[in-house]
């Protein structure tokens, strides 16, 4: 049985590792929920890399239908082809195109399937997939075929809790809520992205970062991906750690709303340069 331990560039918490392995062992989909930027989507990629399996990505949009994931019968194309009688259209098969879920089922080896941001779709969407995910098979009435997974794919489903997922759906899944990483885990994650980062710079940056996140009034709290962008900016501009302690350079990379930047600025005694980084870079050089 496959056991996922994490990969070199994906730092995984012990509780998430347990959840992933339960999901693999029981052959049940794993629902991963959490704040944006906590690495939900990357998880599936890491599992695929770690276990050396092929990855199928099904991105969900507000208009996505459950049926699209299974297969599409292109009736319009068939109708179009029928007009001139120059080809055989009696065979429906060429007009059946498998969706991502269908492809994952039809694969000859076990694969990793990610259903990304399932909460974006309509409310009934998860319920429409109940049986398919349970049995890992579905029927195509047009051709009389049944697509059945030879190896139950490892299914990862991510949700930003835009909509609540239906209870019958959740019952069949393993659930994991990714907590926002604490300082230690965050330092590990940053270490993967910037292996040669100065310890002092990292320490000061993290201190500021968690200090900002403590404001409950923020419209949008900065997440991991914003921290990484910020550090990138700090490194490129060559800003020393001592300066981060005193003020907040490039705060615009962390806080995307003017109100948030103002709020944070009001808590620091020094003026901030959120939207005039040019002033900042002059000072640095």
């Amino acid at each position: 049985m496959d056991y996922f331990k994490g990969t070199e560039d994906y730092v995984i918490s012990p509780e998430l590792r347990d959840s992933v392995n339960v999901s693999i062992a029981l052959g049940r989909p794993l629902v991963v929920k959490g704040e944006p930027g906590t690495g939900k989507t990357l998880l599936a990629r890491a599992i695929a890399t770690g276990l050396q399996k092929q990855l199928f990505v099904w991105n969900i949009k507000s208009t996505t239908k459950a049926q699209e994931g299974l297969y599409m019968y292109d009736t319009v194309k068939r109708l179009n082809d029928a007009r001139f009688g120059d080809r055989d259209i009696s065979d429906i098969k060429p007009y059946i195109k498998l969706g991502k879920l269908g492809e994952a089922f039809a694969a000859t080896e076990q694969v990793v399937l990610i259903i990304d941001e399932i909460d974006k779709a309509e409310l009934e969407f998860p319920n429409d997939l109940l049986n398919e995910l349970d049995e890992m098979s579905f029927h195509i009435p047009e051709t009389g075929e049944t697509i059945k997974a030879k190896h139950r794919p490892i299914v990862i489903i991510t949700s930003n809790s835009e909509k609540e997922l239906p209870d019958p759906f959740l019952r069949r899944c393993i659930f994991h809520y990714i907590e926002f990483p604490g300082e230690q885990l965050m330092a590990d994650i940053i270490g993967v992205h910037f292996p040669n980062l100065e310890t002092k710079l990292l320490r000061e940056a993290l201190k500021k970062f968690y200090w900002i996140r403590r404001f409950d009034m923020l419209r949008k709290k900065p997440s991991t991906s914003e921290l990484i962008d910020w550090l990138q900016a700090l490194i490129i501009a060559g800003i020393p750690a001592s300066l981060i302690e005193k003020e907040l350079p490039f705060v615009g990379t962390l806080l995307k709303k003017k109100e948030d930047a103002d709020l944070v600025a009001s808590k620091t005694d020094r003026p901030h340069y959120a939207y005039s980084t040019s002033t900042k870079s002059r000072r640095v050089s």
Binding site: S23, V76, N80, R83, R171, E179
Partner: protein, 388 residues
């Protein structure tokens, strides 16, 4: 905490596969991922876990001393006969052995020297205690790494307290609560091929295929919100207003009105009450299939409900008592609920809340309350509401 039989069985199959590796920490994670399907219940899970497992902590500590010395060694090979012999030991005997061994070894400094024996606690042995050994009736006392982070301690931290759903809504949870409101929306219809129009257009087009698609029909739900602003409601109403103006984008026909403590003959259409419409006209003209949500603490002097000219604003004269207007509102809309930011525990202590509850189905303005209230609305249960 809602746990279904289905999930309970899943947990057992996970345990049957020994996914927990006989570690309480792993068990804590695994049971949570299988049984708990929302982070709002994590805190309750922690409490339940503590309640069940906090008692065994002392044993854990004792074991820690033993475990500190246990190291993984070579695999053990046994003949079938030996295995059979061992299988016959019963649990009582095993436990007795275990206690005796612990007592005997209490003063030993180095457990790791006990490798491959048949009596002592160690590794690769056939005694009834230890790790990586073989004894079907044995006590396994942990193996591998990270045994020092005990699950009970993890549960004790109660890190998910903030996600508990019975707290009043805050900014983070507002976003989640919004998603509940969307369930008021019937799903929009998919695009469809208009067959008749397609045939028509294709004929006109001299047989060249011309596809005509039906327009997307999007049915929206209709929601009216009445909000109590002023006095004790001021901090809450700002929050509720934020919540619902965001929801307004989702709900196609969304109307909102304001009131102070109770609704009288004039309905405020803005927060400060400078523009109003007559309540009676509104109630006559409005479509009654709106879903109505009243948000207020219903905490006022009973006279504000029952007296003519009882309104809290001194200059405001009402010729009918407030409760009459509330009853009219209730009678107009079959689907109506009242959300109250006061804790449920306090409701019975306030006379005016009791009176309002006789008219409206009331829910707490918390994640759970909102959820229940919305479900109640959608299922049409508000029509069946009787005085409590």
């Amino acid at each position: 905490m809602p746990v279904t039989l289905h999930e309970w069985m899943t947990l057992h199959s996970a345990l049957a596969l020994n996914l927990s590796g006989c570690s309480l920490t792993h068990f804590y994670h695994i049971a949570r991922s299988i049984l708990v399907k929302s982070e709002i219940y994590f805190d309750r899970y922690d409490m339940a876990f503590l309640d069940t497992f906090s008692g065994i902590e002392t044993t854990d500590e004792l074991l820690d001393r033993v475990l500190a010395c246990l190291r993984q060694t070579r695999d053990l090979k046994l003949t079938d006969e030996e295995k059979k012999e061992l299988a016959e030991l019963d649990l009582d005997q095993v436990l007795k052995n275990f206690e005796r061994q612990l007592l005997e070894q209490r003063h030993d400094k180095d457990y790791s020297s006990d490798n491959g024996g048949n009596r002592a606690i160690g590794t690769s042995g056939t005694s009834t205690q230890g790790a990586w050994g073989y004894n079907p009736a044995g006590i396994r006392i942990g193996q591998g790494i990270s045994r020092n982070r005990r699950a009970v301690q993890v549960a004790e931290r109660r890190a998910f307290k903030n996600y508990a759903s019975d707290r009043t809504l805050d900014t983070r949870q507002m976003k989640v609560a919004l998603s509940h409101l969307r369930s008021l929306l019937p799903a929009g219809q998919a695009e469809k091929l208009d067959v008749a129009a397609t045939i028509d257009a294709t004929c006109k087009n001299a047989g060249e295929l011309e596809l005509v698609w039906e327009d997307k029909v999007k049915k929206g739900s209709k929601v009216i919100l009445f909000m109590d602003v002023g006095g004790s409601m001021t901090p809450h109403s700002r929050m509720v207003d934020q919540l619902f103006s965001a929801a307004a984008a989702q709900i196609s026909r969304f109307r909102h009105f304001y009131f102070h403590n109770c609704i009288y003959q004039d309905l405020r259409t803005d927060m400060d009450g400078s523009s109003t419409i007559p309540t009676l006209d509104f109630l006559k003209a409005v479509d009654t299939d709106y879903k109505v949500i009243v948000v207020g603490d219903a905490e006022m002097a009973p006279s504000e409900l029952t007296w003519v000219n009882g309104a809290v604003d001194y200059w405001y004269h009402n010729d009918k008592p407030g409760i009459v207007w509330l009853q009219r509102l209730r009678a107009t809309f079959p689907d109506i609920i009242w959300l109250n930011p006061l804790r449920r525990a306090r409701w019975d202590a306030v006379k005016s809340v009791r009176m309002v509850r006789e008219i409206f189905p009331m829910f707490e303005l918390t994640l759970e309350g909102l959820d229940d209230g919305i479900k109640y609305l959608i299922q049409g249960k508000a029509r069946l509401h009787r005085a409590v």
